[in-house]
Subunit: 497 residues, 2 copies
């Protein structure tokens, strides 16, 4: 094999792997939008074959040989190709470490346990899910032992979603937040106005979504919007991104800000580099970085005071009856009211990280052996009382609300909170170079997109998240930026009443 | 290898191949419904990888070894497994005969030529497409020579869609039709009333579609309806079927009968045998048999006089203003008016097979060398004048109207007309056992579905089309049945005026 042949093969294998990734993405997206209600089992068969086929490519003799050839020659490769080898080898080692049987039985377990979770949630009965969750946590423990026998299981899983993340780093991050937020919440809560309840016709909400997508500069030739009970973003390739939202009849805010959230994710995927398409670099740096982009648009742009100056008249155009009587300050306040809800997905910016903290705390206790699965609901409810001052009235509104654990996404939650914090620090850095407030007041998002594309989007997965972010904001990660942003925003909101 | 191991492998390989078939189906369905406008090139990359992967499974040493083991032992296999081996081996031989390079370059050519076709149609400029069509026909000629050097190319391609079909059999079929229909059309045309033009709100049309799907007994848990500019049916598995329709604002009939057409396809896919799911038997006997089911529902049920007794009041319920003043006979006549249109997709039952005949005639002349690609538009227009008495005013309404040739579907068209004829003969046979007219008048489709399931649907691909049909109608194929059905229906319609 010559170097040229090796690089050719490197690209071909990546193209194949990316095709399987696209297909998996489409199967999930279709499942959440267009597929008939009882097609899950049938789709499961297809997914299993696709999973296996792509694992076989990664662990094939051909790929193994290629990586064995290129890894010792990495210094001779250009930076991009070197990074490809690094990422592919990381993934291959993970797949290789876990025996195929273990891996497949894990996939099957997750398919079942995900379905059971939906039934258990509907029935509000944690005991249905408990034995499956038991198995999921046990399997995660075994798998992390295969992959990295000398590291704590939760570290291994955190690192899967955010390379380099550990329990210790999470703890440092959450300690800063908890220390600041729990007392802050006690000071300012219960003083916020409720959002304006009225009928917001779905057709008008849909039109508004398109207006906002255009405003955000999302290229509709490569990004489609549809509706789903479980909104999300699916980037098949940078040329084909799908986002979904969910409208509520009596509130405009959830549907709108969901579009801004998913639109933020979409912009990231759409603006990775052309030459990285169909390679493992044409993706994203980490889940937390991805989440930093969505929350940047949802919160730091969408829910900000200057943007509401622009947005309020737009909203009034679409909902003249419903919002015509309010001024921009009132609308701003209404979309930022603090809700002590037990439901993460309904949380406001201030309480959101507390929801995440609770989940991280529980994951830690499960893996330390301190907490057993059957004690989960009690621990959950206790933590909600302690951090949020909220009484959880049922497991459906408590431990059963999220599917993540049933779906095997252990160690995923911290990405959400980290994404918020990353976003705040990016905004701080952006403001040093751009008059962001003026852009938002004028609804001119071009400079904002330009900055994000330059610093984040176009780099795809070329860098480790830490490296990417530090170079973007020119310094180390400081969760204090995020904390101070929240304190300032919510103290302003509560004293100006 | 033991027989047990071989059979196990047989099922596993089929499960894998079916997964790829499902994925291809989903990619096409998604492309025609939800995908963003400029995602085709990206999707093409994914499709190419999937095509290649599934061809590799079929032509792998493992599969080859399996078929070499089972083929000489076919007698020891139960009928179903014997049929699987036969179908898999047929497909493998086809793929094996064509060199991979030729096959892949054909796929690439089709992707390009399909795109060019769309542009050429839009620009009404056949010369844009001509060189690509030239290449497509040449490639088809080469491929058929690889696959069966001793058979006429068009026979080879006809046989791909309908096993056992030849030019000679097509000719015999079309001769019967032409002899009967061309003079019939001259007698009765120009005397029909135009359909009632009015506004038919899309929302009401959508609700009507759901009502009709329920009436047809289509299981909505396994079959979803959506909208597309290019309606069709995609059977991923028997547990997951998608149909699409397209509504017109000023006519209710196209959207409605499209749903009945695609619904007929869907019923077939949904009612193949459970034990055949995820095998090559869980499909359909041939494209013409598939089309016989869709046209059975669209025409022999949907457009029939007795069904209109049931349907007319239903239509009036959804469109009281628009159709309230008409009686059922008038509505029956309006949906059956004879239109001498140059567009196949707008044709009525009577003229439809003439559109197909023209296409078959042209395919024959191209392959015999009698006609060159650049002479296509002239030949097309001449034949439309001769058979239908229609002047084609532009290539967009003429030779550019269908994508089939540009997409490499050579020899596909006859399936449409054969499907009509098969349907008529199935209806004749059904009427010997069931009082079909009574069922249709009462809107009770359960006995109709029961008969079709028993005779056609549950057998999937277990039999060759001829064998399946002859056993269903108890005799040999007789195109005279179809001809007499058309004569009777349209003579009745024209003299009763
Ligand atoms: Zn997100
Ligand atoms: Zn059809």
């Amino acid at each position: 094999m010559t170097m040229t042949q090796a690089v050719e093969r490197l690209y071909r294998i990546q193209r194949e792997l990316q095709a399987y990734r696209n297909v998996r993405g489409l199967l999930y997206h279709d499942a959440s939008t267009a597929a008939p209600g009882k097609s899950a089992a049938s789709r499961g068969q297809t997914l299993a074959v696709m999973e296996q086929a792509s694992a076989r490519i990664l662990c094939s003799g051909e790929c193994r040989e290629l990586l064995a050839y290129l890894t010792p020659r990495a210094e001779e490769l250009p930076r991009r190709e070197r990074r490809m080898v690094q990422l592919m080898d990381r993934e291959r080692r993970w797949r290789d470490a876990v025996p195929e049987e273990e891996y497949l039985s894990f996939q099957k377990l997750l398919a079942v346990s995900f379905e059971i979770w939906a039934h258990a949630k509907e029935a509000d009965d944690f005991s249905m899910l408990e034995p499956f969750l038991e198995q999921v946590f046990a399997a995660c423990r075994r798998i992390s032992a295969w992959a990295a026998p000398d590291r704590p299981p939760l570290d291994v899983w955190l690192d899967r979603y955010e390379a380099g993340l550990t329990v210790e780093r999470c703890d440092r991050f959450f300690d800063v937040l908890r220390t600041g937020l729990v007392p802050l919440l006690k000071r300012i809560s219960a003083a916020e106005p409720e959002g304006p309840e009225a009928e917001y016709p779905l057709e008008a909400q849909r039109l508004l979504s398109h207006r906002i997508m255009d405003l955000m500069g999302i290229d509709r030739n490569h990004c489609a919007l549809s509706e789903s009970a479980h909104p999300g973003t699916t980037g098949l390739t940078k040329y084909d991104v799908r986002i979904t939202t969910r409208y509520q009849k009596n509130q405009f805010a959830p549907g709108l800000f969901m579009v801004m959230h998913e639109g933020g994710h979409a912009l990231y995927e759409l603006h990775t580099a052309d030459e990285d398409a169909f390679t493992c670099l044409g993706a994203f740096a980490s889940m937390a970085v991805h989440e930093s982009q969505s929350r940047f648009y949802e919160n730091l742009v969408g829910h900000s005071r200057p943007f509401l100056t622009f947005l309020a008249p737009v909203l009034q155009e679409y909902f003249p009856q419903q919002l015509g009587g309010m001024d921009e300050e009132q609308i701003y306040r209404s979309v930022n009211c603090v809700r002590k809800t037990p439901i993460r997905m309904e949380a406001d910016e201030l309480t959101y990280p507390l929801h995440i903290m609770i989940r991280h705390e529980i994951e830690k206790r499960i893996f330390s052996g301190e907490l057993r699965v059957k004690e989960l609901p009690q621990a959950w409810n206790d933590l909600y009382r302690e951090y949020l001052g909220v009484e959880v009235r049922s497991d459906r509104e408590g431990v059963l609300q999220d599917c993540h654990w049933a779906y095997g996404s252990i160690g995923y939650f911290p990405s959400y909170a980290l994404g918020n914090a990353y976003g705040a620090q990016l905004m701080q850095a952006m403001k040093r170079e751009i008059d962001v407030d003026r852009c938002l007041r004028e609804g001119d998002l071009v400079p904002v997109n330009g900055w994000l594309e330059e610093k984040i989007w176009r780099h795809g997965a070329r860098y480790e998240p830490e490296q990417l972010l530090e170079s973007a904001w020119g310094g180390t990660f400081d969760p204090g930026v995020y904390l101070r942003y929240l304190e300032q925003k919510y103290l302003n909101l509560s004293c100006a009443q």
